[in-house]
């Protein structure tokens, strides 16, 4: 079967290495894990080279393999560090509310809603830092839900939790992430008067 001319594995690293790495970094947040999974992706692709039909582009094919590797990694992390009682406590941020469940200080005003935040490198670095501050299962649940857009049933299987628990996990992840971004990004920015 004739292969498209651009499928020489010797060129893969230069051609797709950084692209796959960025994809992995956004989801894994850890350089050495991301690099390992990129390497595994290339090796799996090499082994599976014969089955590449050329129907999709090479980069789509490689990202597909990487995506599976990332989900396997999440599954492994969930198995190695199952959720503790602490992870499932309903109120991740108890100081935010008083005894009757009202906000004590409440979310602060973030200023206008900058639509281009996703292109702001410094913001993205902060987002990554805030995500890394969550426990792996919380960060992974958030990643699967918001970055991958997976539905909750799928995420429950990967993380091996019930749907009720997943809601608690996602609630907690969102609340802590919001708080972290407020403290380390939005408040600093409004403080600078920008």
């Amino acid at each position: 079967m004739a292969k498209p001319a651009n499928t020489d594995p010797a060129e893969w690293v230069d051609r797709y290495g950084d692209y796959l790495f960025r994809y992995a970094m956004l989801r894994l947040r850890d350089r050495s894990t991301a690099e390992d999974l990129v390497q595994e992706t290339f090796l799996a692709a090499l082994k599976d080279f014969g089955s590449f039909s050329g129907k999709s582009s090479e980069s789509t094919w490689l990202v597909g393999i990487l995506k599976h590797k990332i989900i396997d990694h999440f599954r492994r992390e969930a198995r190695e560090a199952p959720l503790g009682e602490n992870d499932l406590r309903e109120h991740p941020d108890p100081s935010s509310f008083d005894g009757s469940g009202h906000w004590t200080s409440g979310p602060t005003d973030w200023g206008g809603n900058p639509a281009d935040l996703y292109r702001e490198k410094k913001f993205l670095d902060q987002l990554t830092k805030c995500l890394s501050g969550l426990s792996p299962n919380h960060a992974n649940a958030f990643t699967l839900r918001e970055i991958e857009g997976a539905d909750t049933g799928e995420i429950c299987k990967v993380l091996n939790v019930t749907e009720t628990n997943l809601w608690v996990i996602l609630h907690r992840a969102r609340m802590l992430l919001r708080r972290c971004l407020e403290t380390h990004w939005f408040q600093k920015r409004t403080g600078e008067g920008s």
């Binding site: 979310p107 970055i147 809601w167």
Partner: protein, 80 residues
């Protein structure tokens, strides 16, 4: 009557599944009178929107494989 604490939990839940009608109405009514919860919802949605847009791009700009990893991967591909 829903408290702010209840509402934050339901707001998160509503981002993953549709709430039963009673709860949905309770949340909407609460948001009409509570600017903090309304703000909380807007901020969660901003985070969602930002992350989704980011996912549709090539990921975090400027990140590249380290020279060491690049070399290691190249070698592993040459001698499988």
């Amino acid at each position: 009557m829903l408290s702010c604490k209840d509402v934050t939990k339901l707001l998160s839940e509503s981002m993953d599944a549709s709430l039963p009608i009673g709860k949905r109405i309770g949340v909407r009514l609460h948001l009409l009178i509570c600017r903090f919860c309304a703000r909380y919802e807007r901020q969660l949605l901003l985070i969602r929107e930002t992350v989704r847009r980011l996912a549709a791009t090539e990921g975090i700009p400027g990140k590249t494989l380290s020279a060491e990893a690049r070399e290691r991967i190249r070698k592993s591909l040459a001698t499988p």
